[in-house]
């Protein structure tokens, strides 16, 4: 099949403003969009720049806006995208070049929720025990690959760039609801603020965008409840 890729281009060394590049390629319906982008870069225009690595949806490098919605380019097959595909960088982050955006602010927010295991007291000799039921409580939020699709697609974040954002909250949830972790109070301080969970307006864009099928809005809701009732 023939597809037309409309890609938003921007070269900081040459362009004053972004412009649209159009590329027609022959491809298989079962090709990933990433394959199509690579085709353009490798055979048509070597200057096209984007991040990518694993090519199967686990590393989170290639999150971008595809036909208006955030997704991983390597998880979408051409057959689901139509003959003309519009590709733009993630929204809400400074565009550095073409589809490559500045992810440092996103990662700083992630770091601010203390996304690491916190315990008091000494470690046991072997593993801390955890029942399968307890393990299940935070299984969903362990899946986050920090791709940025959720935060970048959140209207509350568009309106207020200081909002902690869904991804940071998901990663806080992973620890808050882990029966072994003891750092809840410390994280609550960051989350229980105007720019923390309370900026969430339950819009659900994050759930739509998440390539790992994490129920982000539910996780944020669980954190809100935990804050309100001071228990997990």
């Amino acid at each position: 099949m023939q597809v037309t890729l409309k890609i938003k281009r921007f070269n900081p060394e040459k362009d004053k403003d972004a412009w649209w590049g159009e590329y027609k390629i022959d491809a298989e319906p079962t090709d990933r969009l990433l394959d199509a982008l690579n085709h353009v870069k490798w055979y048509l225009d070597g200057t096209l720049t984007f991040r990518r690595s694993c090519a199967h949806g686990v590393c989170g490098s290639d999150a971008m806006q595809i036909n208006g919605s955030n997704a991983l380019a390597c998880k979408l097959l051409l057959k689901s995208l139509g003959q003309t595909i519009t590709i733009e960088p993630l929204r809400g982050y400074r565009v550095i070049k073409d589809l490559l955006v500045d992810m440092d602010a996103f990662l700083a927010k992630y770091r601010s929720v203390k996304p690491y295991f916190i315990t008091q007291g000494p470690d046991p000799e072997k593993e801390r025990l955890q029942s399968p039921e307890d393990r299940e409580k935070f299984d969903d939020t362990t899946k986050c690959i920090l791709c940025g699709a959720c935060t970048s697609g959140c209207p509350s974040f568009w309106a207020d760039g200081d909002y902690l954002g869904p991804a940071a909250i998901v990663n806080a949830h992973r620890f808050l609801f882990d029966s072994r972790d003891e750092g809840g109070e410390q994280r609550m301080e960051v989350l229980n603020t105007l720019e923390g969970v309370w900026r969430c307006r339950t819009i659900f864009n994050c759930v739509e965008a998440c390539p790992r099928d994490i129920n982000v809005t539910r996780a944020i809701g669980e954190v809100k409840k935990a804050l309100l009732y001071r228990k997990v």
Binding site: N11, T47, S53, F117, P124, E127, P132, D139
Partner: protein, 574 residues
């Protein structure tokens, strides 16, 4: 621009992060990654980390050691394997103490499942040794290690691409790297350098590896006259998604999935009567290739079926959720009711930069260390995997040897000073870059890479022979010539990823030449290296490690003995 650190870690996957954690807070350490750390390929590992915890049934590290050595077709260095299997246990507990969310048994202990080649009582029957977190164990390990690095304030240089290793007066001097964001070249003067840059699967057309896995660390070290060990041994994982190479974990077979040919037959019964579908990967891949050759591939084509239809929704949802998703997303197939087309995929480099069991890089057959230089993880060859790696052993390897090499590097930096660098230490690196940017050639890098990958897949993958390898050597020479005339369209400094891909292709070409040369010389079959013209293992002549050196006369090969302690080599049957 020269930056000075006590230690520089190159690569931020499991091995690199583990090494960095040994040094953080105790020395001035920087971690360089050409990606962001959580994009590293450790995150793609699925099945589990092997350790003889014995949570579900009796298990001992000695059994794990035996399995690993037999799995390696007796090429692994047994002192290193002992370290691997012994320290695996405390490593897994450490991970759990860092919060890794392992799947759990009903009693609340770390859950374990069977995996290829892992047995109890020295080969009697499969044993549940693989500690897992659903089928995202690698993701959880990468995340957990990165989280610890945040906790301990490890300093990262993200999207810095290493171009050269500096060696002065026979000692490690540092590295030179390209900052992708700005195009500037930085010299990192460092007492110790630790390479943890992973493998080179992108040499092959069908691979489970990420686009980033182009063997940069191996090539950079090799170009400085340090040999690469056992490069002929490359693992083809039996179950990659047909045509795409995406990995479908051995864990599926651990949970009971069965490989079937076009007759619906469980063909592994004929090739490995005891372990069946959980035989070591090289044996399963060869079995698949043989079935296909003999016309029993599905529809006569070059793939077989992985049948998960009998496993039930509970198992697929809870234990194999990610691979179930891959199959649905990329093939549009429902694994609950339909079998999945699979074929062998280039997966793991058993060979690499030679090290001793402390992770120190050794530069000759006598294992002479190069002071200050370390390597750990897939980039290294200790050798713990010998001619074939067992599943779950890579995650153990990266953490055990990441830790050991990090600890040794810590001691080294406390006891040693910097080596003075010459005035233009970055000369070679700058030349590499300007050669590409100033090229007036007309060759597209992608065309050269396509040919490389196709030829390697055809002539140097699961089955090899002298004729094919000789033809491949010629072809690689031709590609090397064409590479000199590669054109680049992007002449910018900001995120010039085209330049990066051209440099990566140069690394792949170097490593392909080493692999082919080593494979052509080794006239026997062992583990992942199978010669149709020499189909038997030949311990009398070939129970030794290959060391390949770059030289003006071409590639020179030397050999060093295998360390044998507890288990005498015998025939490898399952």
């Amino acid at each position: 621009m020269v930056q000075r650190y006590d230690a520089v870690v190159v690569g931020a996957g499991g091995a690199g992060l583990m090494a960095a954690l040994q040094l953080a807070g105790k020395g001035n350490v920087a971690v360089l990654s050409k990606l962001y750390p959580t994009r590293s390929h450790t995150g793609a590992a699925q099945g589990g980390i092997g350790a003889a915890l014995g949570n579900l049934e009796e298990d001992h590290w000695e059994w794990h050691m035996f399995d690993t050595i037999k799995g390696s077709d007796y090429l692994a260095d047994q002192d290193a394997v002992e370290v691997l299997c012994r320290e695996a246990i405390e490593t897994v507990y450490d991970l759990e103490h860092w919060g890794l969310p392992f799947s759990r048994t009903a009693e609340g202990k770390i859950a374990q499942r069977p995996f290829g080649g892992h047995t109890k009582e020295f080969g009697k029957a499969p044993v549940r040794r693989s500690c897992y977190a659903a089928d995202r164990t690698g993701h959880m390990i990468l995340q957990t290690c990165y989280q610890q690095c945040i906790k301990h304030d490890v300093h990262f240089y993200n999207e810095y691409h290493v171009l050269d290793l500096l060696v002065e007066q026979g000692r490690c001097g540092g590295v030179v790297a390209l900052c992708l964001a700005t195009g500037e070249i930085y010299t990192f003067q460092s007492k110790a350098v630790l390479f943890a840059t992973g493998g080179c699967g992108k040499m092959f057309h069908v691979s489970s590896n990420a686009h980033s896995l182009t063997g940069d660390g191996m090539a950079v070290v090799y170009r400085r006259g340090i040999p690469l060990e056992d490069m002929e041994f490359f693992q083809f994982h039996p179950t990659g998604i047909y045509k795409m190479g995406i990995l479908l974990s051995e864990a599926a077979r651990g949970e009971g999935a069965i490989l079937r040919n076009k007759l619906g037959e469980r063909f592994m019964e004929r090739y490995a009567p005891t372990l069946l579908d959980l035989a070591p990967r090289d044996m399963v891949s060869r079995a698949i290739y043989r079935e296909i050759r003999e016309g029993r591939g599905i529809d006569g084509k070059n793939y077989v079926y992985l049948d998960m239809t009998h496993l039930g929704k509970e198992v697929l949802d809870k234990k194999l959720p990610d691979i179930t998703d891959f199959v649905r997303t990329y093939l549009g197939i429902e694994p609950l009711t339909q079998p999945v087309p699979v074929q062998p995929t280039a997966h793991y480099a058993m060979g690499g930069i030679p090290t001793d069991i402390e992770g120190r890089v050794v530069i000759d057959e006598k294992n002479t260390p190069l002071p200050g230089l370390y390597a750990a993880g897939e980039v290294a060859c200790v050798s713990v995997h010998g001619a074939n790696r067992l599943g779950t052993n890579s995650l153990v390897d990266i953490l055990v040897f990441g830790r050991r090499s990090g600890r040794h590097a810590l001691k080294f930096i406390q006891e040693n000073d910097w080596v003075p660098l010459p005035a233009r230490a970055d000369e070679l690196a700058r030349a590499l870059v300007s050669q590409v940017l100033n090229s007036t050639g007309k060759e597209r890098a992608a065309d050269i890479r396509d040919t490389l990958q196709d030829e390697m897949m055809e002539k140097a993958s699961v089955f090899r022979d002298a004729q094919g390898l000789a033809a491949l050597r010629e072809k690689l020479r031709e590609l090397r010539d064409r590479y000199r005339h590669v054109k680049s369209e992007d002449h910018g400094v900001c995120y010039n990823t085209e330049l990066q891909e051209v440099l990566e292709l140069g690394c792949l070409l170097d490593l392909a030449e080493v692999l082919v040369e080593s494979a052509w010389a080794r006239q026997e079959s062992r583990g992942g290296h199978y010669r149709e013209d020499f189909p038997k293992r030949d311990d009398a002549h070939w129970l030794k490690h290959t060391l390949a050196y770059q030289s003006p006369r071409g590639i020179e090969l030397k050999f060093k003995p295998v360390v044998i302690t507890k288990f005498q080599p015998t025939e490898r049957k399952y």
